[in-house]
Amino acid sequence: MCVRCLLMTVPEPQFDELYREVILDHYRRPRNRGKLTDATAHADGANPVCGDEISLDVRLDDGRIESLAFEGVGCSISQASASLMTDRVSSTPIEEAQAVRAAFRKMLLENGTPDPSIGDLEVLEGVKKFPVRVKCALLAWNVLDRALEAQPDHKSGDDQ
């Protein structure tokens, strides 16, 4: 079959599952973007292969994440995931944030169905069909883990 005929029989590829409207909204209008003047923990992270960067300020108080702010550059998935993460885990006990991180990773890495605890983060489920992009979605969470690692009574999860 010639190229033209083949193209006419194939529908335009769909990206609605990957680029959900909520993701594009968080990419264009990231929440909690900036720095915290009263941060108690900080971490930076990057995906060296693709150049995504996240810099995260966290204010912790008595085993709780009180607030977070992030800065970064990168693709829509990495930046939207960071924005969604800060929304989900602010004003949350550290333990709960870790559980959310584990559930989020399970959804992306082990093809798990989204756990209700992850909330809006389930919009990133479509990323698992694009294995090279999974690391984009996980970057912010790895940075959060690194920020928490510095805390004396925190046991960190593995990095990837």
Partner: protein
């Protein structure tokens, strides 16, 4: 010689172009990373393993003789292809990176503290990091020359950077990001006047245009087989014979010796002095088939074909407000490499969506992080052409870009190019 490529016929020589990706015909526009292989190259590999496989240079049996003759014939073919005076000055390595490292570890060992190496901000990491490592070992200094706003090398800055302590000027013949064709003869003259040697990274030039090493005036020239329709695992270093004569070997082992005694050994003549151990015999022989293929097309025709495609794509891109191509505006001054930005969309998102259309492009820093910093972008998209690409593929790519724009447009209406 006929200077027009019959692309339709050329395309039938590349089996991979029948592949579909996501249900669509493959549009392969990542040729600066590696090119696809014609049937002749694939057949040469299979033929070698089915009929001629033996180790070279030492055996006395029929297969060993055949394999050796074919391997050495490619050395002569490569020399002729790039206008090198003698086949002995052609050394086979694994890739361009290894060829550049070979120079840094052998010739570079004689550098002293305070000696200077001049390179440019547009270099690939493989023409930066080996010199940084050399600088660490010897105390030499690496200086980087800037580019002008139009993506051309700043020759005034280069003249200022070259001084009495400059021992080497090492520059890409063609930039793998900007496509810029550098004025290498002028650079060679400038360097030689100051008593420095010149090394050229030819990874993006030899595959896409006629190259005559003699005319470049350089002292070292490096390139890779896999970017010029050949197999992976073969690189080429050319160096002036008088330099190869004097420098010490790179790796030690079999095939590179004259005599070995426990008290000490002596080395074979070059090129063998620099090819320790069993080389990549099969891939070198198949590389010969790639050179034959390009020879038959004619490198002038190859260059003109890619220049036309570059002109075609650049012309459309320059008309679209949300696309920003980098590098020289004029296709005559650049190879078939176009890096660009899509306004408001990160290159990885661009690459993912166009891949959905079967179009393979590169997104990232292209192993040129200093250049990304210079351009003040985290990454770029890159399209790069080869002999089998055509205007129809450029159109499919542009339609895919239109889709990128519509996914990321704030109000999500379909826009048209």
């Amino acid at each position: 010689m006929n200077h027009v490529l019959d692309t339709d016929r050329v395309r039938t020589d590349f089996p991979i172009l029948s592949e579909t990706v996501n249900g669509r015909p493959l549009v392969y526009l990542d040729n600066a990373a590696t090119t696809q292989k014609p049937r002749a190259v694939i057949d040469a590999l299979v033929h070698y393993y089915e009929h001629d496989n033996a180790n070279i240079h030492r055996g006395l049996h029929a297969l060993a003789v055949r394999a050796t003759e074919q391997y050495e014939a490619v050395r002569a073919k490569v020399a002729r292809f790039v206008g090198a005076a003698s086949p002995e000055s052609i050394i086979f390595t694994r890739n361009t990176t290894e060829a550049l490292n070979l120079i840094a570890y052998t010739w570079g060992a004689a550098l002293d503290e305070g000696d200077e190496i001049v390179l440019s901000v547009m270099e690939h990491h493989s023409n930066i990091v080996p010199w940084q490592l050399l600088a660490e070992r010897t105390g030499a200094i690496v200086r980087a020359v800037d580019i002008r706003e139009d993506g051309q090398l700043d020759l005034d800055a280069m003249r200022d950077s070259i001084g009495p302590r400059t021992k080497l000027v090492t520059i890409a013949h063609v930039s793998n990001v900007l496509g810029t064709i550098n004025p290498v003869a002028e650079i060679s003259a400038m360097a030689h006047e100051a008593g420095a040697l010149v090394c050229l990274d030819g990874a993006q030039s030899v595959p896409h245009m006629p190259v005559n090493i003699g005319q470049t005036g350089c002292d070292f020239y490096a390139f890779s087989a896999h970017k010029m329709l050949g197999p992976t695992g073969v690189g080429v270093l050319w160096a002036r014979p008088e330099i190869l004569e004097t420098i010490e070997p790179f790796l030690g082992g079999g095939d590179m010796i004259s005599t070995v005694k426990l008290e000490g050994s002596s080395w074979a003549e070059f090129p063998h002095k620099f090819e320790a151990g069993t080389p990549n015999i099969a891939d070198v022989i198949a590389f010969g088939a790639a050179i034959d293929y390009l020879d038959e097309l004619g490198m002038t025709a190859v260059r003109e074909h890619e220049c036309r495609l570059t002109e075609y794509l650049l012309e459309v891109m320059n008309k679209i407000s949300w696309l920003r191509p980098f590098g020289p505006k004029d296709a005559e001054h650049r190879g078939g490499v176009i890096s660009f930005e899509v306004e408001g969309v990160h290159p990885h998102d661009v690459a993912t969506i166009v891949d959905g259309h079967g179009v393979a492009i590169r997104a990232g820093h292209h192993c040129a992080q200093p250049l990304m910093r210079r351009l003040q972008v985290p990454a770029t998209n890159r399209v790069s052409f080869a002999v089998y690409n055509n205007e129809r593929e450029v159109d499919i790519f542009l339609e895919a870009l239109d889709h990128v724009r519509s996914v990321f447009a704030d109000d999500r209406p379909r826009t048209t190019i």
